[in-house]
Symmetry: C3
Subunit: 139 residues, 3 copies
Amino acid sequence: MTQTILILPTDGPGLYEFTAAAEAFVREAGVASGLLTLFCQHTSCSLTVQENADPDVQVDLQNFFARLVPDGDAASMRWMIHTAEGPDDMPAHIKTALTQTHLSVPVMKSRLALGTWQGIYLFEHRTRPHQRRVVLHLS
Amino acid sequence: MTQTILILPTDGPGLYEFTAAAEAFVREAGVASGLLTLFCQHTSCSLTVQENADPDVQVDLQNFFARLVPDGDAASMRWMIHTAEGPDDMPAHIKTALTQTHLSVPVMKSRLALGTWQGIYLFEHRTRPHQRRVVLHLS
Amino acid sequence: MTQTILILPTDGPGLYEFTAAAEAFVREAGVASGLLTLFCQHTSCSLTVQENADPDVQVDLQNFFARLVPDGDAASMRWMIHTAEGPDDMPAHIKTALTQTHLSVPVMKSRLALGTWQGIYLFEHRTRPHQRRVVLHLS
């Protein structure tokens, strides 16, 4: 069993791929078969596995969530009461609930068993820059 | 490896925190490093990691889902066909699909590696009181 | 630790139950207590645990997602830019992000610790037939 914490800087809403960092952790552990679990220590950003071929997918994905859960100063979201931390905070919590706080990916033949077009992403929902923490646990 | 089943009573829609019960299970197991998996044995309530600082977050979260998936007797949801178990049943299945049936949280230094503001919640989607079962698996 | 890859054929949008295949894998492994992780190697279909009693639940679930994320040629979704792979492709990625790419289910007394009405489903979001790959990892 091996564990570490990745620090991922973000600079506004969007998907930040960190597949390479996760793969490097698995490679250094030297494990042939196992399970990598990734856990995001925040409630205003999340994790997702998405296509890493066409970057337009990431743009559309972010736009879908921005339309489904517009910032709290939008007319459609004026019912929100948790607004003290800014109009992008409560929508960030909701987007996190709609996606994942953790992922688990099997390791086969010493590599993450991702599909051909799959990448691992941090999905940032807040406007301001952040340093995000993701725990990696390999067993 | 240690396993148990928590019974969590609920009394209508909303988020029910049970972080303390999960932490107690980890503490009693006496494990320094590991992975706690929580599995909800129902399809009309779910699990989520959310902010445990301002309770308004929980109110807004519940309201968002109630607006996105209103009960089946709402004009906007009259297309539903699974209505025999009440107007809140099919929306509960949908809200479950949109959130999580299971969570995995690493254990580091004998404690759950939750972020500063993270709590573990059962998200009840049904109106009537229930006894909910969550399997805890620590490895 | 045991691993395998299931190949699941799909024939258009909908939920495809494969609980029996997952249970057979656990049974053949002969493990009394453990954790089964299921990982979907695609970004246009996903995994979900849902009710396996009334098939109407699956119809309503699929219809909800089709209404929330209509195909990209619907007037409401003309803002999408990732359209080269067809009008059902980007919506499939979004529906995947809104559901799960992986699941973990504890094994107790040599059986998956599913609730009475729970089944494990592949949720296909694409129109054309596919062969889908799901990695099973038991530890």
